[in-house]
């Protein structure tokens, strides 16, 4: 029988009891994150950098223009015409920094997506099923972990000599998913002991459904924090490799390729405007991603009281 008190009292007399909804963990985390000033400033900065990179073409000039060698404008200091000056081939540094950001960030985001996807799939499968599946997958992960990252990216890159940015994404992703896989596995192993997983299984949820619908949302906070760490690491990886000449083909502007110019002593010594802008943007972008990661970690941690 339903209690029928509410039908008898007129609606005006008694305040209808508001359902006291407790906040979801996500809402709690969002509130905590929004209160974190450094993280919010970083987020705004990162969004501005992303937006300017995406809008590089309307803001400055098409990509093809940035590659054009202009002999009359070689190594010009910053001026009203060229905000950041021009490089040794007369190319506008400001335009190249924006276009470089587009490539560098797009690469980093794609690699992060690939790394997190592979790592989560492997980790969740190993952690959920356990037994020989776990054993086989983790032995493979351990094996992949033995290869020094930078060294093998360089080796793989020189195999695909006529390579595009796609190969770079593939090569880096293949070598860097192991950490995420281990992390997700340990979290899944702890989480699957909970009763809600057992009840999901007992009412006949299939394994994929249990993993994707019940398990993963509960380890999502860990995965998100790991994704920010990966994102920062991948920006460093891409720019570092391009800097050494093993990354993105030299004709495409990226922050790493622009910094490569500083390997010539002449540019490093007397033409600071060619290499300082990409170096500064690169550093501040990574810094902001790190702060966002810290903020997220804090926000997801129920024990922190900031």
């Amino acid at each position: 029988m339903e209690p029928s008190i509410s039908h008898q009292t007129s609606p005006g007399l008694v305040e209808p009891a508001k359902p006291q909804k407790s906040q979801s963990p996500w809402a709690l985390a969002r509130r905590k994150f929004l209160r974190n000033k450094i993280a919010i400033i970083s987020l705004v900065f990162l969004l501005i950098v992303c937006a300017m990179s995406v809008l590089a073409e309307p803001l400055t000039m098409p990509v093809e223009e940035t590659a054009k060698i202009n002999l009359t404008q070689m190594s010009k200091e910053p001026s009203a015409d060229h905000y950041f000056g021009t490089d040794k081939s007369g190319r506008d540094v400001f335009a190249r920094t924006l276009h470089g950001g587009k490539t560098s960030l797009l690469l980093a985001f794609s690699i992060t997506l690939a790394v997190i996807t592979i790592g989560t799939l492997v980790g969740a499968t190993a952690g959920y099923f356990g037994g020989w599946v776990d054993n086989a997958l983790m032995r493979f992960t351990d094996f992949m972990m033995n290869f020094p990252f930078l060294l093998f990216v360089i080796v793989l890159k020189s195999i695909f000599i006529e390579s595009s940015t796609g190969t770079l994404i593939f090569v880096i992703s293949v070598l860097s998913w192991t950490g995420t896989a281990r992390l997700v596995r340990s979290k899944v192993m702890a989480e699957k002991e909970n009763e809600y997983i057992m009840s999901a299984v007992s009412i006949g949820c299939s394994a994929p459904k249990t993993i994707f619908k019940h398990l993963l949302p509960n380890v999502m906070s860990t995965i998100i924090v790991q994704a920010t760490i990966t994102l920062a690491a991948m920006i460093v990886a891409e720019t570092g490799l391009s800097f050494l000449g093993f990354g993105v083909p030299i004709n495409i502007p990226t922050w790493g390729n622009m910094l490569q110019e500083a390997r010539s002593p002449d540019v490093l010594t007397s033409k600071w405007w060619i290499w300082i802008p990409p170096a500064a943007v690169l550093t501040f972008t990574i810094l902001s991603i790190n702060f966002i990661g810290e903020g997220l970690k804090d926000a997801f941690n129920p024990k922190s009281n900031r």
């Binding site: 094996f143 033995n146 290869f147 020094p148 990252f149 930078l150 060294l151 093998f152 360089i154 080796v155 793989l156 020189s158 195999i159 000599i161 920062a232 460093v236 720019t239 570092g240 800097f243 050494l244 000449g245 093993f246 910094l259 500083a262 390997r263 002593p265 490093l268 010594t269 600071w272 290499w275 170096a279 690169l282 550093t283 501040f284 990574i286 810094l287 790190n290 702060f291």
Partner: protein, 321 residues
């Protein structure tokens, strides 16, 4: 402990075998072959080239070539470098001391800085100095090593002129003299600081957090209650307990330093293993490249073992079995 070490070492053998297969396969997949560097460049007669190929065994089936290469590797012979026309082991032997000097000085700088900063931050947590230290940590984490290296060269080598910007030894300096060692130190100090100082953040944070945590423990309260001086509590009681976990990170560092050396050595044109690797990949000098790849991978394996052993050594609660 000894039994465990031996078991782990034996367990490495199949892994090393698999790694060697991977390294060899990758080297074979690379475009061009070793031939180009080895024959008389003026003689382009196809018959002569074919004869040389046959002589060098490049026409043999791949598995045969692998067995021949691996047979040499087991005896410590990685073949000859095609570019330098010398045995690979000799070449690596020349470069290895430079990398070891660089790596050890960098490690020393990392530990020293992390110890000083971590001790200060741990003791005076949430003070102004602590915030300064953590500010430095955030920066050191965010600045990529090659950017740090460029800035360091720009400031210290070019503008201030304190140290040379590249190489590992001045020209015309005789080996063995005092001048030689001074020149070596001068060339090493900048890359070592860049490599070392940028790696402190994790250690500093680790030491700081551990000290803060320890300072709330019972034995510290006991020491305070007995009237021990605050400096003695921190320097004697807490620090000793907090320094131990850091030692275990040493194992992972061994491999990391060599890997990190690739970028740092290339920027400083410092003739070590990392620079040699980049050179050999660019010159398609496969035997050198394979040797370095094998060496660093095995080093990673050993580093992991060292880390595990140190864990057991400093924390008797962890049983190695």
């Amino acid at each position: 402990m000894l039994q465990y070490t031996i078991r782990r070492l034996i367990g490495m053998i199949p892994i090393i075998f698999l790694i060697s297969v991977v390294v060899f396969t990758l080297a074979k997949l690379m475009p061009g072959d070793a031939l180009s560097g080895k024959i008389d460049p003026l003689n382009s007669d196809p018959e002569y080239i074919e004869e040389m190929r046959e002589k060098m065994g490049l026409n043999d089936p791949i598995p045969v070539q692998y067995v021949r290469w691996m047979g040499g590797v087991v005896q410590g012979d990685f073949g000859d470098s095609f570019v330098h026309k010398r045995p690979v082991m000799e070449l690596i032997g020349d470069r290895l001391p430079n990398t070891i000097i660089l790596g050890l000085s960098a490690l020393l700088i990392t530990y020293l800085l992390a110890f000083l900063m971590g001790r200060y931050s741990g003791r005076f947590a949430y003070s102004f100095g602590d915030y300064l230290v953590s500010g430095f940590n955030y920066l050191a984490l965010a600045i990529p090593s090659f950017v740090a290296a460029l800035v360091a060269i720009y400031v210290f080598a070019i503008n201030l002129g304190w140290v040379p910007a590249s190489g590992s030894i001045g020209s015309g300096v005789e080996a063995g003299t005092l001048e030689y060692y001074l020149s070596k130190a001068k060339h090493t100090v900048l890359p070592a600081i860049v490599l070392g100082a940028m790696a402190t953040a994790a250690y500093t944070q680790f030491l700081r957090n551990d000290m803060i945590e320890s300072s709330r423990k019972d034995y510290v309260r006991t020491a305070r209650a007995k009237g021990t001086k605050e400096s003695a509590i921190y320097n004697k009681h807490i620090l000793r307990n907090s320094i131990i976990p850091i030692v275990t990170l040493l194992g992972f560092d061994i491999a990391n330093l060599f890997g990190g050396a690739i970028i740092t050595e290339t920027i400083f044109t410092y003739p070590g293993i990392g620079y040699l690797f980049v050179e050999s990949v660019n010159a398609r000098d496969y035997s050198v490249m394979m040797a370095i790849a094998m060496m660093l991978t095995i080093l990673t394996l050993i580093g992991n073992l060292v880390a595990d052993l140190l864990y057991g050594l400093v924390d008797p609660r962890i049983r190695l079995s």
